[in-house]
Every structure is written in C-alpha cells, then in structure tokens.
C-alpha cells in the first residue's frame, strides 16, 4: 500500500485530522492560560510565611505530580461527575464533558509542575532583594510583583517553555476519554481507512513541528534575555 499523500491534503480524512489539530492546539492554549496563574498562586503559597498555606501548596503539588495524567483523566471523566448533583451532571453530559474533564486534568497537572519551576526561580533570588523591596515600603505582594517575579521570570521562562512542550505532548492522552483531538482523529483515520502510515505521519509531524517551535522559542528567549546578576 503506497503512501497516499493526497489523502492528507484534501477530503474527509484531511478534514478530520485538521479538526483534531485545531482541538489539540485549543486545549493546549486554554490549559496554558489557566495553568499559569494557578501555578503562580501555588508557588506563592509554597513560599508564604504562613505554615498552613505552605502545607496546602505541598499537598497540591505532591498529590498531583505523583499520579499519572492518565489516571487524572480517568478520575475527572468517570469519577468526579458522580459526586455532582443530578441536575448539574445532566447539564455537563449535554455539553462537551470530555473536553472539560481533559482540560481540568491537564490544567491541574501542568500547574503543579509549573508551580515548582516558579518556586525554584523565586528561591534563587537572594533574600537581600526581598529585604530591599520591603525596606522601600513595598508590601509582600508588591515586592513579589515588582521586584522578585520579574527577576524570577527570567530564569523561569525556559523551564516553563519546556513544561509547555510537555503540555502539548500530554494533550494526546485526552484520547483515552474520547476527546477528538489530533491523536484520536489519527486513530479514527487508521481504523476507518486502514491508513495508519498517512494518519500517523501527519500527527507525528504536527506534534514535532509545534515541539520544535517551542524549543526554538526557549533557545531564543535564553539568547535574547540572558539572566542578569548584579
């Protein structure tokens, strides 16, 4: 069976695959937008002077990172809706509950990793910077926002970019709960047309291109904004 490039360029299968790519990109984008602020908050919790908040931060990070994303997805798709009242459940099942569960799982999972990157970025900044900020009259959050975070971001952006790359690859796991993203659509083409080579090549190239773009962005950032130290 020769490789049929045309199948990827026009027709139903082409449409399916493009739809999948769109959905994958969409899920990754939304997850990134939701996970970043969540990660920031969790990182601040983990550094907070209040022991209870620190504990909450640790619990969040450890309980999420030590369970595979696949198990998170199974839980949020099969397990969690059962805990909701019937009316809400019916409303959810009427909508796109697959995408919703996948996004929740991905957001929590990504945020847990990003929180740790942000935290170690912040911890890398000397306590003198913090004291200097407080001495000028900035509040804890003001010092964080204007002095610590801008510096921490410099060192944190590269690891955050590689977390985004992981996020992008992780969207593929949403297949297991039936989200029609790229991997799912590729498998669908495989099973309806027995065209695994074409479908998988398309998906692989899509995954790789986005990954390479992200890797490139990370390298560019490191080159453009080298870490400044006094």
């Amino acid at each position: 069976m020769a490789f049929d490039l045309n199948l990827l360029l026009v027709g139903t299968y082409h449409d399916w695959l493009i739809q999948g790519l769109r959905l994958s990109l969409g899920i990754a984008g939304i997850t990134l937008v939701l996970a970043l602020p969540l990660a920031m908050v969790v990182a601040l919790f983990r550094l907070s002077p209040v022991a209870a908040l620190r504990w909450l931060g640790v619990m969040f990070v450890e309980s999420i990172r030590n369970v595979p994303l696949l198990a998170h997805m199974l839980f949020w798709y099969f397990g969690a809706p059962e805990l909701l009242p019937d009316s809400l459940k019916r409303w959810l099942y009427a909508g796109n509950i697959e995408v919703l569960s996948a996004t929740v799982a991905l957001t929590l999972y990504t945020a847990a990793y990003m929180a740790e990157d942000i935290r170690s970025g912040i911890r890398g900044i000397s306590s003198g910077q913090f004291e200097a900020g407080r001495s000028l009259g900035f509040s804890f959050l003001g010092t964080m926002r204007l002095i610590i975070l801008p510096q921490a971001l410099r060192v944190t952006i590269p690891p955050l970019v590689s977390q985004t790359l992981n996020l992008w690859k992780n969207t593929s796991i949403a297949t297991i709960i039936g989200v029609g993203e790229l991997m799912y659509q590729a498998a669908k083409v495989e099973s309806s047309a027995f065209r695994s080579a074409e479908a998988f090549a398309f998906a692989t190239i899509c995954y790789l291109s986005v990954s390479l773009i992200l890797t490139g962005l990370g390298l560019f950032y490191r080159h453009r904004f080298p870490v400044r130290s006094a």
Partner: protein, 244 residues
C-alpha cells in the same frame, strides 16, 4: 527621632539585643561600631522592622515601629536603608531602581519620578550611568545608586549597615563622600561602619556595642581618645594598627 526603650531580642535561645535604651535626635549622625557578631546589624534592622523584637519599644518619628496596627509599608517608606550588599534590583537600570518606589508607592507620575531620580543620581555623581544596569557598575557605583534609591523616597532618616564593607578599598572613599555630604545637609543617619575616619570627622556620637549591649556612648573625641570601657579600649587597639 528614634527612641529605643528596654528593647530585647532573641534568636531562639540566643539573646541578641539586651535591654537597649537609647535616643537618637533629629539631624544627628550616629556611628555604631563594635566587634563582629556584637549585634550591630540586628540593632539597625529592628529600626525598620526587618527583624522583630520580643520586648520593649522602638519609636521612630512618633510611630511605634513594632505595634501590630502600624501600616508597616508606609512606615518603611519613610526610612531609607542601605545594605552592605547593595541589593540593587538587577533587572532594572540605575534610573529605574530609583523611580520604582516613588512611582509605585508615592504615586509620582513617570516624568516627576524621572526628574527626581536624575537629580539624585547627579547628587551621588552618577547621572551619566542612569541607563546602566547594576551588572555594568562597579561596587562603589552600585552602592551610590543604592543611596540614591533610598533618598528617592525623601526619608527623614537613613540607616546604613556597613555600606563600605563589601567594597574594594579604592572605592570606599567615593561612598563615604556621599555620606558626608548627606550628613552636612542635616540628614538623620545611623551608620554601622568600621570606617573610623568617617566616625571621627562626621559623627555626632559613637555607640560601641558588644554581646548585644551598648557599652559606650560618647562623642568621637571622647571615644577615640578616652575610651571608658575595657572592651572598647581593646576594640580600638585592635583596629587602630592599620588606621585608614
């Protein structure tokens, strides 16, 4: 301007400040000296509450520094603090270091903050370095920017914690010059320093500390020529040999 009353501080078991009672007047320049580990940094850091105290009171400009109801950020904005390690913000230029707090805390608009910062950088002799990042400045220049940054909040009090100790010897002079200039302007200053030449010429009073206590308070003339306490005599003879 600054009143300590029966101030005690512990680090865990260690009694770092013992029954400190002292008054520093408006416009006074006080030099705090003493051997390493005697509690000088601890003392000066309790004034703007970088360190909490366990008993006693510290009143700065009529405000109780350690009362729970104090607006701590507003309070600190009125006290300039200069660190041994400069602690300039490395992601900001010299100018931006000086405009950050005026813009965000005093609410100055960008052009007013800029004007003020340029004036202050000029005063410490660094107007041509306004757009340089800290990494591109020498230690002496960084410390002068740090002083300008503190001055930008127009505080009535300036605290210095060994501002010249992290500097190469040839850069000490330029920083002391700026401090001298501030003193002659009538600024209230508390300086932890080992620069005895500065203490002799600029200070109104010298406080000598050892093991968390102020053992001696005297004019520079009395302190250097007629030290009373045995520990102070020892301290002076130790540092006098390579007199600067």
């Amino acid at each position: 301007m600054i009143q300590f009353e029966n101030v005690n501080k512990w680090y865990g078991e260690y009694h770092a400040l013992v029954d400190i009672t002292e008054t520093i007047g408006k416009g006074e320049v006080v030099v705090v000296c003493g051997p390493s580990g005697s509690g000088k940094s601890t003392l000066i850091r309790t004034i703007n509450r970088l360190e909490p105290i366990q008993s006693g009171t510290i009143v700065v400009d009529g405000k109780d520094a350690h009362s729970a109801s104090l607006n701590i950020n507003q309070f600190r904005a009125g006290i300039g603090f200069v660190f041994q390690q400069f602690n300039l913000f490395p992601h900001l230029t010299a100018l931006e270091n000086c405009t950050l707090a005026p813009k965000n805390i005093r609410g100055l608009n960008a052009s007013a903050a800029r004007e003020l910062a340029i004036k202050l950088l000029d005063r410490v002799g660094l107007s041509e370095k306004a757009d340089a990042y800290p990494a591109a400045l020498s230690g002496g220049q960084q410390q002068r920017v740090a002083i300008a940054r503190a001055l930008a909040m127009q505080p009535p009090v300036l605290l210095f914690d060994e501002p010249t100790s992290a500097l190469d010897p040839e850069m000490v002079g330029e920083v002391l010059m700026v401090m001298r200039d501030l003193a002659s302007d009538g600024m209230t200053m508390v300086c932890v320093t080992h620069e005895m030449g500065f203490a002799r010429e600029v200070a109104d009073r010298v406080l000598f500390m050892d093991s968390g206590r102020i053992l001696e308070r005297a004019t520079p003339d009395d302190f250097f020529n007629r030290p009373q306490h045995a520990r102070a005599q020892q301290f002076l003879s130790d540092i006098r040999t390579p007199f600067r």
